[in-house]
Each structure stands twice: as structure tokens, then as C-alpha cells.
Symmetry: C2
Subunit: 338 residues, 2 copies
DNA sequence: CACTGGCACTCCTGGACGAGGAGTGCCAGA
DNA sequence: TCTGGCACTCCTCGTCCAGGAGTGCCAGTG
């Protein structure tokens, strides 16, 4: 495959992305000074089609890139175009105004949607990858506690705990001290082991309560590994003339399913800095016609993922740059708040 | 306006809602045993049209109800049809499994969307109408605190506070005691006054920190009157063949704007048990073709609103019943957790 | 006076048809 | 190896027409 053929592919991808219409040989020859005639371009196109990079919606139409074509474009042809200085400043300012973690996530997801004109998805910092900063016990009634857990990423989880016996204020202080001593600074992934031993460490008369507490903690931490995600920019699905072949229905439905969104953001074990999944490379059926660009974020290590979802015919260089930049800023902010 | 004319209107509304097609005189005469001929129905229809309750999309088409027609239907004709026992049980079970306020709201909004097949919106309990249950101060670094506020409705707000001076553990305890003494049990609406006097009550060396704390509290409580809302069921907008005349775009956009959603749920001062706003009765331009059914909820007094958004041609009796039932159950749950 | 059957009329819907146009593949020549 | 030319394909869009649903009106009836 010689250079000119690659240039032709690039031209097709770029033109198709911007015009959304099949691009013909004449247009390529004219608009991208390749120095050859349309007929020559046609020959190259025939080759590219044979090789599976582009296809014709029907005879006598121009060509559009295939998933394979986009893949080649992303891997070898697209130069990522960094955000402009003004954009970077805007991103920075907007995110730094966040007042708490919820706000960071909300702002991030909106920002991504706005920058990329696509649907944005941001996972809250995963509990599995966080550690305990502080546990707070608030006595509501003598037999009712509220447990508040704050993680190093700023997430706050709260649960009610019914206590088997009435507790005095001192009892509560005791328990608070106990759980904090045991869990503070510990990774949540390691917590179950520690929690299991909690009741053994409490004063005899507090054992029952400690184990109620332990049960709630286990439920919050272990059983509830469900991750929270925020979504924004669904309206962008209607850009570019309803990009999904069928109706919006299945897509909108999928966007409300946390499980699906988590799959979309990628297997938890993927630590790649930035992932682009094009068309069939997505494992979720509803998104076979879509491209997903995701990045991990976190202070130091990855604690969550964010990404955008759009048509395969997206502006790859711009989108990739935006996702990467936002992920970096968010990581910085989490770092500061640690 | 005699009874039969009202019956004709009811028939038109019911048939149009279920078939989504203009209904003709013949269909009405046949399917709703009125005991008169199609010609008679035609005369009544002419009257109803003259009076503004129904209209013709074009000559030689059947009739569809106008907003005014739906209004009459809701006010005088629709018998609310209560949920079935099975539905009620399902609602109850699903909601009672919620583990915290976030979960209650999330489950509620999904439930509403599912029951009504429409877009559901639920406001979190308004901070303005809540009172302080507990304030917690967590020392992160010697000059950095995390302030956690828990309200009687279960909402948890967290903010970082930079302290002007280094604080000892005792200082933190002191401050915690101070703010709790002053604010616990107080309505947030009354809080600003109390907060303003906080620093005066602190030990001299803690004054500066107390006023930093006071500032953050004021910002959280007063300046941030923005309310949180949850949305679900956007996919239902694509039911019934894209019910909004134009594209989905503006609707989807509006659904991501908190300000708009709050307007949609209605003026905060409306304490009506249940409100139905049909077509033009909505103040928001994008929703002039829609109907919004909202209800207040809360333990005792109203602390928030919830509702659904759908086409004017909705199943009013069913929707109204669902919204009312869910609002009641949620109120019960909040009552229990108080 | 209210209701009914009949009838002419309107106007939408969906399919057929054809002109116009964009783009291709292929071929012969430079 | 590239280029210009040319025949061919197939989509798009507008027009046209038949079919059908529903109406309004009118004259007749209990």
C-alpha cells in the first residue's frame, strides 16, 4: 500500500466526517492537492475497497470508510490536534470551580459532551480502587446510626444501621474510634478481610452492634460494587441527522443502564491511557455502529474511566484530544484534593 | 353542553390516546354504544369543534382533542384508575429496598418512567425545606477540613474548607460541637442568620476558622439553592412515533438543564397535591406540546416534587394514578427514615 | 325538534413513473 | 503508470393518479 493510497484514505475519512456524504473520486482529486487526476484516484479507491478500508453504499455512489478504514486512520494517519490555549483555559477554569466530587463529575461530563458534541459518560471513582479516608457514625436514635464513609477520592457513601441494642454516646465514640483505627487509609479492596474481624475487637457489650456495622460495611463495599456513572449530551445523538441507522430508542435505553455504561467504559482491568473502540470492536450490540473513546483518570493510578460515544464517522483527532485533556485535568484535581 | 356531547368528547380522547389517530364519527358511534348514528355524532363533533375542544388536522380527517379538550377531560371526565394490587406491591417492594436517599430517588425516577412509559423527573428533597440533622468535620490535613452536612431528609452535602490556621484535634472537636449546637434541628431556611453569628461564639483563636467554616456553610446553603434532579425514561420519548412535532433535540436538551427541569416541576410555592399542566399551560416553550403531571412529596410537608412528561395525548387516568401513588410511597419512606 | 341515511366533496396516502445527476468501471492512448 | 473519455448504474426527487377515509349538508321521518 503506497503513500498516495493512504492519502486517499485520509481524504475520504476527513471529507466524509465533515460532509457526512459519500465522497467521490472527483472531490478527492480536487480538494486534496494530490497532483493526480480523478481517474487515478478511482483506481486507488478500487484498491482500498478491495482491501476492505472503504465501501460503496451502492453502485454509483461515492465511498465511505469502513470500521477497518477508520481504524487505520486512527492508528496511522490521524494527527491528534491538541486543544487551543483558550479551550484549555476554559476547561481548567470550569473544572476548578467544582465544589465537591459530585460537582467535579457533573462538570466533567458536561464539558466532555460540549467539547466533543457527543454523548459523554463519566464513571465516579471506583470504590474498589479507593481507600478509606474517614468513617463517621452519627447517632440518629438510640437504636439507629448513620454510617458515613468518605474515600480518598472524595466519594461519600451513607447507610443506615439498626443497632441490636441501645447505644450511649460513649458507645458510639468507641465504635467510631474502632472502625477508624482499623480501616483508615486501607484500600477498600482489602477491607472485607479487616471488616470480618471487627466484632472481635469491640468490647463484649458492643459486639452485636459492631457486627451489624460490619454487615452494612460489607454490603456497601463488597456487594454493592455497582459503579455510579453520569451521562450528558444525549441530545447530541440527534445531531448529524440521527446517526444511528435504526431509531434512537435502543441507544437511549442503553444509556440508562449502568451495567451497559460500565461495559462501554471498558473492562476494569484495562489500564491503557486511551482506548478507541470502533464499530464492531464494541462488545455491546447496540453500539456496533458507534465509536467509543475512553480514558482512565485518577490521582496517580486509575480510579475510574470517562469517555464519549459517537458515530463511527466522528472527528477522531479532535475527540481524542478532548477526552485526553479532560481526563488529565480531572486527574490533577483529584490529586490536589487528596 | 349536554351529556352526550361530553360522552363524544370522552370517546374521542380515549380512542385518540389509544390509537394515536384522528377518530372519525363512525368509529365513535360504533365503539362507544351511544345509541345514536354516525351522523348525529358528526353534529356533536361540529359543536365540540366550534367550542374549541377538538380539531381537525385537515378537512376530511377525523378529530383530535385540543389542549382545552384534554383539560375538560381531566377535570370532569377522567376517572382516575388506581394501580392494581400487584402494581402497588411491586412499587412498595422496589422502593423499600433503597439503601439511602440517592437510591430512593434513583429508584423512584425509574419506577415512574416504567409505570407511565414516559419521561420521569424527580427532585431531590429541597435543601430550603430541610433542616440540619448533623454536621461533621473531618480533618484531612492540619489546614484542611471536610465539612459534611446531613439533613433530616437524608441528603448529604460535603465541602472542603481551607482553614486559616493549623488546627489541633481538640480544635476540630470544639468546632464540631459549636456548629452542631447551633444548627442541629434548625431549618436550613433559618440557617443564614445563625451562621452569621457563628464566629462570635467561637474561642478567640478559632474565630478565623469559624468564619471560614461559616462562609462555606453559607455558600452551600444559601448561594447553592440549585436543586438536584434525576431524570429517567428519555427513551420513552421515542415511543408513539416521536411524539413531538419537531425533532427530539430541544426536548433532550431541556432535560439536561436543571433550571428547566425545576421550572417544569413547578413553582416551589405550589403546594397542590397534584398538578396537571397540558400543552400551553406549560410555561416552557419547548414543552408546549407536552403534558406534565407533577406531585409534591415529603414527610408531612412537601420537600420536593416529582412528575412525568409526556405527549398531551397521554393516558391521563393511568398517569395521574401512578404519579400520585409513587409520591405517596416515597413520602412514607422519608417519614420512616426521619 | 332531534335524529338519520344518503351523497357529493375534500384531501391525504401510497405507489408508479420518469427525468436528472452523481459517480463508477473500463479502455485506449500518452 | 497515469489520464481523458464514455457508457452504464442506480439513487433522488418531483409529478401524477387511484383509492379511501371522513366530512358537511340536506331532505326525510318519528
Amino acid at each position: 500500500m503506497d503513500d498516495r493510497k493512504l492519502e486517499v484514505l485520509r481524504a475520504i475519512v476527513e471529507d466524509y466526517v465533515s460532509t457526512q456524504e459519500p465522497v467521490g473520486s472527483k472531490a478527492v482529486a480536487q480538494r486534496h492537492s494530490l497532483g493526480v487526476s480523478a481517474a487515478t484516484v478511482r483506481n486507488d479507491m478500487a484498491y482500498l475497497e478491495e482491501a476492505g478500508y472503504i465501501q460503496q453504499p451502492h453502485t454509483s455512489a461515492g465511498r465511505i470508510p469502513t470500521a477497518k478504514g477508520y481504524r487505520l486512520f486512527v492508528d496511522r494517519l490521524g494527527k491528534i490536534k491538541p486543544l487551543s490555549a483558550a479551550e484549555r483555559r476554559a476547561v481548567h477554569r470550569f473544572l476548578s470551580e467544582a465544589i465537591d466530587l459530585d460537582d467535579v463529575v457533573t462538570r466533567t461530563v458536561r464539558l466532555l459532551a460540549q467539547l466533543t458534541h457527543q454523548v459523554a459518560v463519566v464513571q465516579y471513582p471506583s470504590l474498589n480502587r479507593s481507600s478509606v479516608r474517614h468513617l463517621e457514625l452519627v447517632s440518629l436514635t438510640p437504636t439507629r446510626l448513620m454510617l458515613v464513609m468518605i474515600t480518598d477520592t472524595g466519594r461519600v457513601e451513607q447507610r443506615y444501621v439498626e443497632t441490636p441494642a441501645e447505644l450511649t454516646e460513649d458507645d458510639v465514640l468507641d465504635l467510631r474510634r474502632l472502625v477508624n483505627e482499623q480501616l483508615q487509609g486501607k484500600a477498600l479492596a482489602d477491607a472485607p478481610r479487616i471488616i470480618a474481624g471487627l466484632d472481635g475487637l469491640a468490647r463484649p457489650e458492643l459486639r452485636a452492634t459492631a457486627s451489624a456495622l460490619a454487615r452494612v460495611l460489607l454490603e456497601s463495599v463488597v456487594a454493592r460494587t455497582e459503579e455510579r456513572v453520569a451521562v450528558a449530551g444525549a441530545a447530541n445523538l440527534t445531531r448529524n441527522g440521527n446517526f444511528f441507522a435504526g431509531s434512537l430508542r435502543p441507544i437511549l435505553e442503553a444509556l440508562e443502564e449502568e451495567v451497559v455504561l460500565m461495559q462501554l467504559l471498558g473492562r476494569a482491568d484495562s489500564n491503557a491511557l486511551l482506548t478507541v473502540r470502533i464499530g464492531d470492536e464494541n462488545e455491546i450490540d447496540d453500539f456496533r455502529e458507534a465509536t467509543v473513546v475512553t480514558a482512565g483518570y485518577g490521582p496517580g493510578s486509575v480510579v475510574g474511566h470517562m469517555g464519549v460515544l459517537g458515530p463511527t464517522r466522528m472527528d477522531y483527532p479532535g475527540t481524542i484530544a478532548a477526552v485526553r485533556a479532560v481526563a488529565r485535568y480531572v486527574s490533577e484535581i483529584l490529586e490536589q484534593n487528596r
